[in-house]
């Protein structure tokens, strides 16, 4: 398109004749886009870190038997009292077993469901950790280590030893970091646990587990499924929890509803369990976009002002162009392309700036007790952000340039020429 080439030629000449103002306008965009990239990379990096902290290791559906009172009391079943206002005081929970009835067939049927990525059973056992004369409250979970590693990134939280060591050692325990710390225990040491029935079982520490949540690390440890069943004196049918991971998290809500309906079990889906995390993520995203858009609007006003000034200065040139046969559209394109050049170059520079600062941040040391596997600040280098950044830059400068450009389009050359 020859026409486009000449229009670009004119607009770059105009821009270069006002190189200082053009540069300042472009730097406004650079600043806006750069900030956007930095903010969004850092915020989403932080988001996925925090999400990962909870969501990665949280089952999408957790099935267990909850101790709760009966919704239907005997008096409700008597037809004589149906129309009365029945008040029952001091309702106690029904004696209920913690075990999941018929757990193994349920696991099998879940495994066959094609929405399910994996299923793993757990056995929870309350214990006391024994150290000299002190007894520490504890919770030991019997797990299938391989499942936990592949479904819930369990290995991310083993700071010493390895999950595989638990497989090799049926008396092994992955001890919570808080417990190990309090009891001055290390990998290779032995620990005794007292079961609820009073038995004392010696276990070998094969690893240290640290989730980053102090409350959890102070009580929680992991053993093999069989060992947990032994600790509470149950056979291999005994399962207290079934954890399900789905291919698509969005199926969690309907599936958990169906499971609790069919099997008279409590099935807790991840959305209900962790609603606050999604809220946090949403708010952080909102802040990121709000700040970036604000900066871009400011940059947009800068471009708007400068283009208005250009048009005012170039009134004569616009009249000449129109008198010599350039159409209103051509003139409009001259000014829009100036805005787009400013936006594109400023935006590109902004991407480079954003990327550079993000790289710096991602190399800045960030060590915290709570996040054992993290050594530097989390930064998300998703290319999509860079695409959004360019689109942002171009569209905001287009908008900022459009109004002045339309004004230029409508300038009546006769009025200008007469004015001389």
């Amino acid at each position: 398109m020859t026409n486009f080439k000449i229009i670009l030629d004119i607009s770059t000449t105009f821009l270069l004749s006002r190189i200082k103002q053009s540069t300042i306008a472009a730097l406004g965009v650079t600043f806006g886009i750069g900030t956007f990239i930095i903010l969004v990379s850092f915020m989403t990096g932080l988001n996925s870190l925090l999400d990962g902290l909870i969501l990665n290791r949280t089952p999408h559906i957790r099935i267990y038997n909850e101790v709760k009172r009966s919704e239907v009391q005997p008096v409700d079943l008597v037809s004589r009292f149906r129309n009365g206002l029945n008040i029952v005081h001091s309702i106690k929970p029904k004696k209920n077993q913690i075990r999941i009835h018929n757990a193994l067939p349920l696991i099998e049927s879940l495994r066959r469901d094609e929405r399910v990525k994996g299923v793993t059973p757990q056995v929870a056992a309350k214990v006391f950790y024994l150290s000299g004369s002190t007894e520490l409250n504890g919770l030991v979970n019997g797990i299938n280590v391989e499942d936990e590693v592949c479904l819930f990134n369990f290995d991310d939280y083993i700071v010493q030893g390895s999950p595989q060591d638990l497989l090799k050692n049926k008396n092994g325990i992955l001890l919570g970091a808080g417990v190990a710390d309090k009891m001055l225990l290390a990998v290779g040491d032995r620990i005794q646990v007292i079961t609820t029935s009073g038995g004392i079982v010696p276990l070998k520490i094969v690893g240290i587990f640290q989730s980053g949540l102090a409350d959890l690390d102070n009580v929680q440890s992991y053993v093999n499924l069989k060992m947990a069943q032994q600790l509470i004196g149950e056979n291999t049918n005994y399962i207290s929890d079934i954890n399900v991971k789905l291919w698509d998290m969005d199926n969690a809500v309907p599936m958990s509803a169906a499971i609790s309906e069919q099997h008279d079990l409590t099935a807790l889906d991840i959305k209900t369990a962790n609603a606050q995390f999604e809220t946090g993520t949403a708010i952080r995203n909102l802040i990121t976009y709000a700040v970036s858009i604000t900066l871009l609007i400011v940059a947009g006003f800068g471009i708007y002002n400068i283009l208005n000034m250009f048009i005012y200065e170039k009134m004569n040139d616009i009249a000449i162009l129109k008198a010599t046969g350039f159409s209103g559209l051509d003139v409009k394109l001259v000014f829009i392309s100036q805005a787009l050049i400013i936006g594109f170059l400023g935006g590109l520079l902004g991407l480079i700036l954003g990327f550079g600062v993000s790289v710096l941040i991602s190399h800045a040391p960030f060590e915290t007790e709570a996040l054992p596997t993290i050594k530097t600040y989390p930064v998300n280098f998703d290319p999509l952000f860079y695409v959004i950044g360019v689109v942002f830059a171009i569209s905001s400068t287009f908008l900022a340039g459009y109004l002045p450009a339309r004004k230029a389009e409508q300038i009546d050359p006769v009025e200008i020429i007469r004015g001389q």
Binding site: I320, F326, S327
Partner: protein, 229 residues
């Protein structure tokens, strides 16, 4: 001889500040190769007429034909294209794009027309500049040359697309007599050698006397037509 420009009962009103008829039923025509000048008192409507004839002003009554086409009622886009191809306009003040070189100023209308390659256009532009005797200024910035030179650049630009007609609104009004003679000679040559039609508004009777025909205007009307040649 064929008619290049024809105005039929062209009238124009200004509504601001008061309703006022600036042009009253102007009818005339110009033939191919004819060199016509328009004279008249200041404020009689010469410039207004020229803006209408050059298609920049479309707010008028009556009809306008140029190079065999009826221009009245065409869209702004179509008129711009027509102006680009068929009309060369020379203003009283040397209107050049000051950030571009002299050469680029001359080339722009042809680049817009897009009928020739950039190389050819550059050669044409140098040729036009040579006709006006300013080819040595080609690579200077337009803001760096003198007033007389600027006016000649403007004429070269008006010629670049080989238009059907050149219109000028007091093109020599700001020039000294030597430069004014120069410009007249260029116009005369173009009309004789190239069969170019010219319509030039002027206050300079000496200039007008040398043209083929003088149209005299008064109060928005044509009040006479004279020829000294």
């Amino acid at each position: 001889m064929s008619v290049v420009l024809q105005a039929k009962k062209v009238s124009k009103f200004f509504k601001q500040p008061v309703l006022f008829q600036v042009l009253k039923d102007i009818s005339f025509s110009i033939e191919e190769g004819e060199f016509v000048s328009i004279m008249g008192k200041s404020g009689c409507g010469k410039s207004t007429l020229l803006y209408i004839l050059s298609t920049m002003d479309t707010d008028y009554d009556g009809e306008l034909f140029l190079a065999g086409e009826k221009l009245t009622g065409k869209s702004g886009e179509a008129l711009a294209r027509f102006r680009n191809e068929k009309i060369g306009f020379v203003f009283q003040f040397h209107y050049l794009l000051s950030e571009f070189t002299v050469l680029k100023n001359v080339m722009l209308p042809a680049l817009k027309l897009g009928r020739k390659s950039e190389k050819e256009i550059e050669r044409d532009a140098m040729e036009k500049l040579a006709i006006l005797g300013i080819e040595d200024q080609a690579h200077k910035k337009a803001s760096m040359i003198s007033g007389g030179q600027k006016q000649r650049v403007a004429i070269a630009r008006a010629l670049i697309n080989d238009p059907a007609i050149i219109m000028g609104d007091e093109p020599t009004g700001n020039l000294d007599s030597k430069n004014a003679d120069n410009v007249f000679n260029v116009f005369k040559e173009l009309s004789v050698n190239n069969k170019l039609s010219l319509l030039i508004v002027t206050h300079d009777l000496d200039f007008a006397k040398k043209t083929d025909r003088i149209i005299e205007m008064g109060d928005g009307e044509i009040i006479g037509s004279r020829s000294f040649a």
